[in-house]
Amino acid sequence: MDDNELDELKGIFLDECRENVDILEQGLLQLGQGNDDHELLNEVFRAAHSIKGGGATFGFDLLAELTHHMETLLDEMRSDKRPVNENDLELLLESVDIVRELMEARGDSDHPDRIAMQERLESSVLQGPGASTNSSASGDSNATDAIPAAPPAGYTVQFTPKPELLERGNDPLLLLKELEKLGSLKVVIDDATIPPWDSFDPKQAYLSWTATLEGDCSRAAIEEIFEWIEFDCTLVITEIAAQISEQPTVVTQSSEAPGPSVADESPAADATETPAGATAAEAPAAKDATTPAKPPAKKAAASEARSQGEGSSIRISTEKIDQLINLVGELVITQSMLNRISADGSRLDTDELRDRLTDLDRNTRELQESIMRVRMLPLATGFNRLPRLVRDLSRKLEKKVELIVDGGDTEIDKTVLERMMDPLVHLVRNALDHGLEEPQARQDAGKPETGQLRLNAYHQSGSVIIEISDDGRGINRDVVLNKARERGIVGPDDVLTDDQINKLIFAPGFSTAKEVSDVSGRGVGMDVVRRNIIDLGGHVDIQSEPGSGTTIIIRLPLTLAILNGQLVSVAGQTFVVPLLSIVETIEISHSRRTKLPRGTEVFEFRDAYVPLIRLSERFNLPNTGEGALIVVIENHGQLTGLVIDHVLGQQQAVIKSLDDNYRSIKGIAGATIMSDGSVALILDPAAFFSGTGNYREASENQDEAA
């Protein structure tokens, strides 16, 4: 295998790893909410196990080491040796963070807290489930499990493969040979389960083995041999008592243990089950049964639809691909029909030609839509990050919050999703920090102690709407208005509507946080959120009712790949202006223009002076043209006028980047292909703003325009 192949495999592993880390994190969070379903525990364990196994294989040793310690703790939970408790979950969640960072460093650098975390995990395993109530029996057995009094003389290994073991390419004989290397081995074969000849399927594994291994080896060494097939077999490893009397180790199944009993699946566990509090010495033999591994029944279900949006790859449902294949099939049929029509040289059936061309038109449009849909991801891929954030934040802030997420299956372009996450996280932080009250304050206000944070997403007329609402204290308009006056954002005599006051929180340099907290209010405020969303071609709005909560409504375009464009001509060349940024188009002859001493030209527009840019000069176009019209464009609340010759039609433009084959040009956002096959350049409105300007005047104008 050369380096390229290995790199490719490492990439796949890291992709899977991200998925597994997500499963791990979400599973742990669910466990923390009192869901101690055994299948969930198994799922979490498997995720950790896969990271460990893959990590070791691909040389991410630090990753493997840390996950090994996590796995040990999870294994104890999974096999009911310790109850699921808050401290362990916290520890594991912290470890998940380190795993994530190790993973993103691609094993190049160690994490400063890794060793400390491993030690904490280890000591948690050694101490047993400390504070929990039912610790008497399981605590003891854990202690003895971890520190055996004397090494055992050997082990009996009961190895019962699942019928499908052979289909997965595993050979029991090789495993037994490996086992033989550990000591002297006696193997007894059990052929009782072989079916009659006529129903015998040679691809199935029917035999099972009981191996007696004598020698100085560790249980871990045995487990390691069976590590890769642990979900494909039932494995019971039992210590053979040494002659010297020793403290036997027992799996004690505490009667208060949560979740379904392991004994249901494990015949061996029956033998070792003792009532809580009884001494382990009563057990018939010194036994320690490892819980048989459960079948991987829900493994596939666990990883479904949990794709991670951040890698460069994208996971596409086969349904979408099938749809594409169907459409391409139709396209091929239509094309061959067109061929047939054109081949008939004697007479051209124009009616049929027109029909087929209509088909072609429909096919092409559907194909374009389907292809766009391939880039779409469900919002849940981004929303999944939020429960952890809310959990950590609510602890830090000592607030009680319930997070309700609706519409996670709403699909949105991958790029929009990625670039929307930072603003969204910011808004969620804000809602928790500023919006929701402390439990006491909520009670005083006659509200339930636990606040609600609701995320709702849905499609509406070609846009995606995301609403973030809390039932907190709402915006205190007096405070906001006073602050805005203080900072000169609002003039002392201006009268503003409630809605206008609410919107002031989006003004640059505005932060209502009384003190800068760790959570939010670090200088970058809602204006950054607003700018980010507008940069995505979106729009943000706010509704707030004092005392009953705030809702922030984000409207985002479905995709960044297409924009609604206004075609304009300048000096004979066609340009596309994004329709969203156009405020108005006015005739230059009706405008009152003034030249400033510096040479800048301005014109009067809605009681403000707006700078004027002659596009033909800015772009050094050969003939200067007539310059008959001014297109007024808006960007971050500022206005600018662009002088053009003519307004042409409107068109949906598929954006193509210039720097794919060239480089980016200031003032040009990209290019698009027109219906006649020629190329038109798309203007980048942001490039025509120098960054100076009066926010107050501009924001008023922008509100009128909206």
Partner: protein, 167 residues
């Protein structure tokens, strides 16, 4: 520079070169870099670009910049005529990797088979054009063709200068 050599060393047989004319001189590029040859058509001019950057064209949905090689090499302009051709190349150098660019030439002439030992690498070849654009010279049938350093030509034209290494 890597782009051209790469295809000659792995193979004892002669590599193929496409040649084209700019005025009196004949220039050659490795045929494996050539994507297609188009006749001249209208381009969309780009603002804030050097004079040799004529603009962009639509190549089956991709936006491809078109470089006037005469202007790039400092040769006098020539009126567009029916033989004016755009050679679409895909550069494989470190800085220009994967970039697809159109080169406007007077006309495409021939495909030569050249062995490595027919190519004379020389740092100071006197020619009408900037010697850094030249990879070497080759003699064929009493003609002299100039092998271009395509990576250098492309990357210097689209704005990202390559790291010049003399090996």
């Amino acid at each position: 520079m890597e782009a051209v050599e790469h295809h000659t060393v792995d193979d004892d047989a002669k590599a193929q070169y496409l040649t084209f004319r700019l005025g009196e001189e004949e220039y050659a590029i490795n045929i494996l870099s050539v994507r297609e040859i188009k006749s001249w058509g209208p381009v969309t001019p780009l603002p804030q670009s050097p004079p040799y950057m004529l603009g962009v064209i639509n190549l089956r949905g991709a936006i491809v910049p078109v470089v006037d090689l005469r202007r790039r090499f400092g040769l006098p302009d020539l009126e567009v005529c029916p033989t004016t051709t755009v050679v679409i190349v895909s550069a494989e150098g470190e800085t220009s990797n994967g970039k697809v660019v159109g080169l406007v030439v007077d006309h495409v002439s021939e495909v030569y088979h050249l062995a490595d030992d027919q190519i004379q690498h020389s740092a100071d070849i006197s020619s009408e054009i900037d010697s850094t654009f030249i990879h070497g010279l080759a003699k064929t049938d009493e003609r002299l063709v100039i092998l271009l350093n395509l990576d250098r030509v492309v990357s210097s034209s689209i704005g990202s200068e390559p790291v010049v290494s003399h090996d």
